[in-house]
Symmetry: C2
Subunit: 146 residues, 2 copies
């Protein structure tokens, strides 16, 4: 049996994060010691490692919630899980495309600036006028996340 600190160390998750996951129902309520401290077994460690890994791959907690409940039904077909993964892949590809455009614009900005006064700074100038950009990088939709 592991205390919350040991569990966190094993899974690479901070202690408050574990309590947070329990609070939002991603982890089941842990059993308690005589002194009211949480105790975890191997199953909890596996579940937490699953969550951590999925987070590292950029899945939202909502997606992970679904993935976990799917993985609790091993006899069901896996199409739903695969669909979640494919949606995540699509999301990553969208972000990648956007970031690639951003990188191009930022590089252009910093390269073009000759480094004089603010009044002549290409960075400031481009920021004030999107028509100076070479691509249409504008926020098409979603955001955030790893």
């Amino acid at each position: 049996m592991l205390t919350i600190g040991k569990l966190g160390a094993q899974a690479g998750v901070k202690v408050p994060t574990i309590r947070y996951y329990e609070q939002i129902g991603l982890l089941p309520e842990a059993g308690r010691s005589a002194g009211n401290q949480r105790l975890y077994g191997r199953k909890a460690l596996e579940r937490l490692a699953f969550i951590r890994h999925a987070r590292d791959l950029g899945f939202t907690l909502e997606a992970i919630r679904d993935l976990l409940s799917l993985s609790d039904n091993p006899e069901q077909p896996c199409v739903a899980a695969d669909a979640i993964a494919r949606a995540q892949l699509a999301e990553v590809e969208r972000r990648l495309a956007r970031l690639t455009a951003l990188k191009a614009e930022l590089e252009r900005m910093v390269v073009q600036c000759a480094g004089g006064k603010i009044a002549d700074c290409r960075v400031i100038e481009v920021l004030g006028d999107h028509s100076l950009c070479s691509t249409d990088h504008r926020h098409p939709e979603s955001e955030a996340g790893p």
Copy 2:
């Protein structure tokens, strides 16, 4: 003179967002009409477009605050502005590297799954065990953003 709605439409920013920017001091307090409604001129539109464009390029509001106060001093040298842009470029490059790794792992997952039961699903399996991954994609640090 523009009402807040017209201003938002011109700059591509939602009305509550404009009020939010004013609240956190990114936009100066707007003048008011006789009936207490905000009124904006060309300068406010330019400033808002600047903010919007910088946001579209992934700058944080804190960075934008600094960029705006720099652009208010046109005689100063532009090194500080360029440094902010280069930092943003570096950040974008870091995210790009991470997302590229994530994309590779997600592709592997969905390609390898044969589509049977959850018990045999490669997606679920890989999520539970990072050692099945081909790269070390783990969250090295920062996150979030465009």
